[in-house]
Amino acid sequence: MDHPRSFLRGWLASGLAALAVALASGSAQAAEPLKIGFSMALSGGLAGAGKAALIAMEIWKDDVNAKGGLLGRPVQFVYYDDATDPSKVPGIYTKLLDVDKVDLVVSSYGTNEISPAMPIVMRKKLVFPSLFGLAVNDQFNYDRYFQIMPAGPQPKLDWSKGFFELAKAQNPKPKTVAIVAADSDFALAAAAGARENAKKDGFNVVYDKTYPPSTTDFTPIVRAIQAEKPDLVYVASYPPDSVGMVKAAREVGLKAKMFGGGMVGLQFAGIQTNLGPMLDNIVNYTFWVPAPTLKFPGIDEFLKKYEAAAKGKGVDPLGQYLPPYAYAYMQVLGDSIEATKGLDQAKLAAYMHGHTFDTVVGKVKFGKNGEWAQSRVLMVQFRNVKPKDLDQFRDPGTQVVLYPPQWKSGKMVYPFNE
């Protein structure tokens, strides 16, 4: 009698064990992480921005994973430092796709680091959410490229459009412009757009030069510009050069009526705090400032999280420029995956093209070339900046939005040296 009973018990136990193994393996499969790969400038010249972007992306990942991940899978990042060296980027993306077998890729930060990844991503026909590339897709025409910087459908032109629109509206209308740019992909594209806008709007270009990235002293450049007596000075520069250019302009006593345009770095809280009143009346581009017109749902909450995460990491302490967009380009990808319920690249691309996304940087709608369907390059003017005061940049008023008209929060002080 015992024998059949023990057999039954054993059979039942083995059945339960098999069920447990099956369940366990099923849940392990569901818990397989969804891997998103990218290269990022974590050292070298663009590392300040790259590390800040990574902090924002990690915040998004934590937010998503706290809600159960995507498609029921936890999100995991696989990333490598490209050391701000474009030549390293192709190797990184090849490794991400062929060795690490990531499910999806997103871009590094900046034009110079995005372009080298494009041929590899295109060969694999992957969607490519990109972070702050200026007119990268002009060369590639890739229909799965989605760029989060709000440079508009004609990024080269839209980048400086606001600067020239503001100049055109002055009475009497200024006549001449000087264009100076760093000798690198982004700045050259920005300068090319400025040149076209100047021509279109009837400004006479009296100085048009580039400078090498190793330039130490900018006073000879500013003096050479001053000698041409331009009404407007449009600068396309990287952070250290922007600081050098602003200091040189103040030291030389630049007499232009408008100065600024495409200077990267004047959006970073550390640089803003140090330059202080030297920034007054400069009209420069940016993508977000704490103006009442730009209070999008979720932005304050995100910035609060960012400030806490950035503390002690030696990155931009306020993170108003790049981090919200680094969060938003992940939001676009995440929302698309959830909506299409899968990782089919064609479906994801179609969804991204056809849908308007609600993000921390407002509503995002992509145009045919993967740029924002409508430009939102803000032209802001620094006003009454106090020396060594970081907190002033948390409040509206220090940076007044002048352009586009629908986001305007104040009037321009003109001329620059007023």
Binding site: L42, S43, G44, G45, A47, G48, G50, K51, D183, K209, T210, Y211, P212, P213, S214, T215, T216, D217, T219, P220, I221, R223, A224, A227, P239, P240, V243, G244, K247, A248, R250, E251, V252, G253, G265, F268, G270, I271, N274, M278, K313, G314, V315, D316, P387, K388
Partner: protein, 291 residues
């Protein structure tokens, strides 16, 4: 059109820039020019000097140039320690040429990564009353942000030149550069002399770093921008010549500034390095080099 005002401003701006280049190059003129140590990490040490200036300026409001002077003895001690390692690992065994170069290359990366880990990658700037201000001498504008480094560089170069020419240790350094065996026969220890000289070379980077951050923002890898330039200045001036290095630095600054003003800034490095090549073609030992 050539304007006299513009030319005089370009010349003065170049002179001031050249003074700064001299401050950054003088340590290398000692370590590379006189001791034949290919210290490719020299600009990275300069960046460390910038960070020391930034820390004490942002926390205690100390003037960056003063910080540079105060930190120099610490940098001297670090230089002595680095030379001891270099000597024990490479020079003593005669492997200094290639392995020594790799050592300093590695050191440069360690310094960069160390700064990155400790202080992050954000741009660092200092505040001082003279930054952003300028004064005029007739038609010539003088930005204090460049005048202060020029004066400091002048004092540093003059001081080191006098030290090498007038003191016993200074002459021993010059002697070790020319003939270490003869120095040994005179009863002096060439290793100790070289160790002291390398310490002195490293001490100058404390001040040079302070001047660098006075001029513009600094991040951990900014030193790489200066590697080519500082070696070019030392070679152009003539290996072993402090005066030659100073003249070469001024020359490079002036050429860069004048070309930048009149032909466009993108031509400046090409013309400056063209001058270097032309000079070396005519005078292979540099402007004031020993043959």
């Amino acid at each position: 059109m050539l304007s006299v005002d513009l030319l005089s401003n370009a010349l003065v701006a170049g002179l001031l820039l050249g003074g700064f280049y001299a401050a950054v190059s003088i340590g290398l003129a000692i370590s590379f020019g006189q001791l034949d140590i290919v210290n490719i990490a020299h600009p990275a040490f300069v960046v460390v000097g910038s960070y020391v200036a930034w820390i004490l300026n942002s926390r205690f409001g100390l003037d960056p140039v003063l910080v540079g002077l105060l930190a120099a003895p610490l940098f001297f001690a670090a230089g002595v320690a680095i030379y001891r390692i270099y000597y024990a690992a490479f020079e003593r065994t005669g492997q200094e040429s290639l392995s020594g170069l790799a050592f300093f290359f590695g050191l440069m990366f360690i310094v960069e990564v160390g700064l990155m880990l400790a202080y992050g990658v954000d741009y660092r700037l200092v505040s001082a009353g003279y930054i952003g201000k300028s004064f005029n001498l007739g038609p010539v504008g003088l930005p204090l942000r460049l005048v202060v480094p020029f004066v400091a560089a002048l004092a540093l170069t003059g001081g080191i030149w006098l030290y090498l020419a007038r003191t016993f240790t200074g002459r021993a350094i010059l002697a070790v550069a020319q003939d270490p065996l003869a120095l040994q026969l005179m009863g002096a220890d060439p290793v100790r002399v070289k160790q002291f000289a390398f310490g002195l070379a490293t001490a100058t980077t404390a001040l040079a770093g302070a001047l660098l951050i006075v001029i513009g923002p600094v991040e951990p890898s900014v030193g790489r921008e200066y590697i080519g330039r500082v070696f070019a200045i030392v070679v152009l001036g003539g290996m072993g010549s402090i005066g030659g290095m100073f003249v070469a630095a001024l020359l490079l600054g002036i050429v860069e500034s004048v070309v930048s003003t009149f032909a466009g800034p993108s031509w400046a490095p090409a013309v400056a390095f063209g001058v270097l090549l032309l000079t070396l073609a005519l005078r292979p030992a540099g402007l004031f080099g020993r043959r």
